[in-house]
Symmetry: C2
Subunit: 408 residues, 2 copies
């Protein structure tokens, strides 16, 4: 259960200090949805004029809150907005009860926080298939609203954890025409989470000014290079949600602004990497860097084939420079590859080229490299100019421990 | 290493008695390709007039023997044929050396066994990326040819094992117009095999008479329902090969014969199941039976999504009736699903229907069911008439042990 897992060896030293984002306030509370003695609900209130964009799981069995958020997005409004998230119960595969719970929560948040119900975005993470006790959440709304503070981002990040072993936060700023725009975000997720809890949730806030349409376009594009390039175990949650809110409080317009996009990309990549670093049972953080593919899409296919291969992931866990399994994963990916043009590097060590092992390859050197905690595997296909980078963790006994335990 | 692994708890009690197939003789020998103190090369000689069909891995990094077999198939000949397989070395990702080794072996077998080199089919299974010491194999050919016997099928099945924990054999017969046709086959494989050895190899023999073209069509069709419906860990070998040889010695023509096709299907399914039962670390044999999908192809996509999901497989290892993970896997598969039409059964136990848990569902009953060794999970999509059945094993600590150990 939560709290019993040791902190990932790949965790950052501390939660970062998040800057205050003008127009955003947070609160967290212990509502007893499922867990005892910890916070499990967070509320974020967004000032009038905030633009909201989101991306969600593509699962065909997605949860009631995801369906509700997807229906509401794109409804730009000058009124305020709110985000409410609970942990402990996913409100997924709960039949018609699911949408009823979402509607009850949204109506209550709208009333207490003074925003339209159509601008309340919710998420739930935890057990699948159990009715969400939404009354417990509604009962705590007055407490939450009273506690709203621009400085409570870390408390909010902690309230949405399930079996995450550390809270995940990141921030950046961009100087645009002499003015500063700030970005702060947090995330939860460590693969699909024991015993049957799922979900990656990400919330990012900025005081930049930008309309919902360009904000959504920027978010979708950056998601493909960040959160859609990580994998822990190839399994997809029913509840994955990423929400980006731009309050406009800085007065700085960032429509089509490359500096802002770079800063946002940095925050998203940092959070994505932290999710991998908290991957269930992870002891190694691995970057698969693919170049020379026929297209960027093919490069990503090869990258994910390696990152999702149980045999590649167990070899990395065993600190084994088992390049034969890299060849296997490239071969099975379905994207074009030519054995005789392939080259493989572990870090700077050239392992294989021209369809065979490099004559100067030293297994001893490669084995020493594999003992590191952060590893880079480079694969060049020698076919074209397509590139992609994908991140994952290794597959260890702890993953089995976490996921094979009978729910008690 | 080989021999150190305990026999799978899912293994059959004994190797079956294989019938003699007129026109086929086997021999096995210890050539010291890599292993010590065991047989590691098998030869099968096929009488003149034998039709040969085959299916192979789709990997783009497939091995030299696979490329050679694919080039040779379809060259029906009235001369005899031969199959030579070594274990211990995969002759994969060995650059130009790979094809040289295959050519040397084929030329030598052709000469010693009295068949055309274009009718010698080889396979190699074991370590990837090391040059095959084909001289050691060639040096044993006289011994092999002298030892050829119609009754040495089991010895041949044992010689091609790598870290298989038991040899796999199956047979059947069909009575056609008062005459009997016999089928016998053997296989090796238990996922991708430790430490970096791969490959499923299957050899099936019959005394039926049938041309190569209809034999190939029958084999390809049946492979889609048998070997292409099993998965241990979603990884695809560089060397998977299945060869079917029909000697015609019975004189019974089986072109388009449904009885023969049924019997062949039975042998192929039996061998496919045995490969799963020897899956690395397997403690449970699991059948995913999908009905009500929009098409058969969609049903198979759902089946494989469940069978390849690490979270579903670890839940099964933990004897956890974790149907939320089944919902997750169906949702992520990419094939159509409607949460509110989905029903899920563990054996006869109705777990979920109409988008939520069955009100009569007893977790205690389901947990008791999951303690069995052979499990059936039924998923009905409620969308159409598409069906598929997929088989797999669970994902346990032993899989990590076998695959994460550093190659020594």
């Amino acid at each position: 259960m939560v709290g019993a897992l040791p902190v990932s060896p790949l965790a950052p030293a501390a939660f970062p200090e998040l800057p205050v984002i003008d127009g955003v306030a947070f609160a967290a509370v212990a509502a007893g949805v499922r867990y005892k003695n910890r916070t499990d609900v967070m509320l974020a209130r967004l000032a009038p004029g905030t633009s909201v964009a989101g991306v969600f799981t593509r699962s065909s069995t997605r949860s009631a809150p995801v369906l509700d958020c997807q229906a509401k997005l794109g409804g730009a409004s000058d009124d305020g907005a709110a985000i409410l998230v609970n942990s402990g119960n996913a409100n997924a595969f709960t039949g018609k009860h699911g949408l009823t719970s979402v509607a009850e929560i949204c109506a209550a948040v709208a009333e207490r926080a003074g925003v339209p119900a159509t601008r309340v975005f919710t998420a739930s993470t935890g057990v699948i298939g159990e009715k969400l006790p939404h009354d417990r959440i509604v009962a705590k709304l007055d407490t939450l609203v009273a506690a709203l503070s621009p400085e409570a981002g870390e408390a909010a990040a902690r309230a949405i954890m399930t079996t995450d072993t550390f809270p995940k936060g990141a921030s950046a700023s961009a100087d645009i025409d002499g003015q500063t725009v700030k970005i702060a975000g947090f995330a939860k997720g460590s693969g699909m989470i024991a015993p049957d809890m799922a979900t990656m949730l990400v919330y990012i806030f900025t005081d930049a000014r930008i309309g919902e349409k360009p904000l959504q376009a920027m978010l979708s594009g950056l998601t493909d290079q960040t959160f859609n390039c990580i994998t822990v175990d190839s399994d997809t949650s029913t509840s994955d949600s990423l929400i980006l809110a731009a309050t406009g409080a800085s007065g700085v317009d960032v429509t089509d602004n490359a500096q802002f996009e770079d800063a946002l990309h940095g925050v998203m990549l940092d959070l994505a990497h932290q999710v991998v670093r908290d991957g269930e049972g992870a002891t190694k953080f691995v970057e698969f860097c693919v170049t020379g593919a026929s297209s960027d899409a093919d490069a990503k296919t090869h990258g994910l084939a390696m990152a999702n291969s149980p045999l590649v992931k167990t070899a990395i866990a065993g600190e084994d420079p088992n390049w034969g399994r890299i060849v296997m994963a490239i071969g099975k990916s379905g994207a074009p590859a030519d054995r005789d043009r392939l080259s493989i590097r572990f870090g700077d060590i050239l392992v294989a080229k021209d369809g065979w092992v490099n004559p100067d390859y030293s297994e001893e050197d490669a084995a020493a490299y594999m003992k590191g905690q952060d590893l880079v595997v480079n694969v060049d296909l020698g076919l074209g100019t397509g590139t992609a980078t994908v991140w994952t963790c290794d597959l260890t006994h702890a993953y089995i421990d976490i996921n094979a335990d009978y729910r008690s």
